[in-house]
Amino acid sequence: MLDKIGIAKRIAKEVKDGMYINLGIGIPTLVANYIPPQLSVVLQSENGLLGIGPFPKESEIDPDLINAGKQTITMMPGSALFNSAESFAMIRGGHVDLTILGAMEVSEQGDIANWKVPGKMVKGMGGAMDLVASAKHIIVAMQHCSKEGASKLLKKCTLPITGIKCVKRIVSDMAVLDVLPQGGFKLLERAPGVSVEQIKNATEGRLEIEGNIPEMQL
């Protein structure tokens, strides 16, 4: 089973040279640390920045420079600042190549739920609904099961959804899977030490297993 850093490392391997990428809060933010340095990519922060740099040194901290998770950040050379309408024009207009975000549930149709637990949590959707409705390519970082062992890769989401038929690929603590255009999860890779059988048992939605499933290379 992968820990958060393992998931982030595996997702980092999906990144290609020249990509503009939006990273969600949580595990997706960690992905930035593992993108191979020879790749030239630009990270978008939906609060108005292209070209997120590393966290600042204590002496560089600027309260007027934060990411979407409200963390203090720096800018890379060649950055651009803009307002929130322009930021979502970029997202909605399909200019961002890859969106990586967290999920509480994903359905076998590619629906995603990650913004609300009725009666328990009312934080709001932030930019997630815009991102999932518009992104060309969406990778989800998530736990395969709840703490109680219930699958989060479902036939149908039980929580209020964030967007329909949008998730393309999932990297969980147990596996890498694609959401098939006709519905269903296609198993691509197993996490180190996790068996196909374990993944089967942890996946409520239709799971397609074809041939030998390799272990992830991290």
Binding site: N47, G48, P54, K57, K70, N83, S84, A133, I161, T162
Partner: protein, 230 residues
């Protein structure tokens, strides 16, 4: 054209009960700290606040929530605020949650005289309830309407006496769109400069949108997530 007022108290003097306010900022970055304090002091009740976030318990719009001056919040994300959550769950506070890009575009539409537009965000979700859905080139979109406000209250880095504004870093966020969408727009700036001191090519908010401007004081610029690299 001189739009300078003495300070926040004069700027918000006519903010009335049950007014609709837009307040710039993302998290605690780029929020109109001085005007929020002045409204707090004034004690105006029944406010509808349109703002991406709702501040934290003891700063930003959170201060106005504590004093129960806010009747309704229109936001995209309010997860930083325990008092907010309490008031919401107890039914003391009305809340309308809007996808962040839809919020930004609805405010922009308000300033730009566009009463409605189509956006894909929220199709198939509870956000779509009661909204017109239409398909364009094989993809579904929701019809969303403009947002405007009695008062738009924004914070900029530098501004001139005619109301031209330049923001700094990611503190720009919602401020420019809100500046255009207020019947009365109030700008507080860190540095108020004379006419001609700003490069016309670098203006983020042209002065035509701004009715009042003043140089704010004692900016706290509180940081929510202080993160540093080793």
């Amino acid at each position: 054209m001189n739009k300078v007022v003495a300070g926040p108290d004069e700027a918000v003097a006519d903010v009335f009960e049950n007014a609709t306010l837009m307040l710039g900022g993302f998290g605690l970055s780029g929020i109109p700290e001085n005007c929020i304090s002045a409204i707090l002091k004034k004690g105006t009740k029944g406010l509808t606040c349109i703002s991406n976030n709702a501040g934290v318990d003891d700063f930003g719009i959170g201060l106005l929530l504590k004093t129960r001056q806010v009747k309704k919040m229109i936001s995209s994300y309010v997860g930083e605020n325990a008092e907010f959550e309490r008031q919401l769950l107890s039914g003391e506070l009305e809340v309308e949650l809007i996808p962040q890009g839809t919020l930004a575009e609805r405010v922009r539409a308000g300033g730009a005289g566009i009463p409605a537009f189509f956006t894909p965000a929220g199709v198939g979700t509870e956000v779509a309830t009661g909204k017109e859905v239409r398909e364009f080139e094989g993809k579904k979109y929701l019809l969303e309407h403009w947002l405007r406000a009695d008062f738009a209250i924004v914070k900029a880095w530098r501004g001139d006496t005619a109301g031209n504004l330049i923001y700094k870093g990611t503190a720009r966020n919602f401020n420019p769109m809100m500046a255009a969408a207020g019947k009365i727009t109030i700008a507080e700036v860190e540095e108020l400069v004379p006419l001609g001191a700003l490069d016309p090519n670098q203006i983020h908010t042209p002065g035509i949108y701004v009715q009042r401007i003043f140089q704010g004081k004692n900016y706290e610029k509180r940081i929510e997530q202080r993160t540093v690299s080793k």
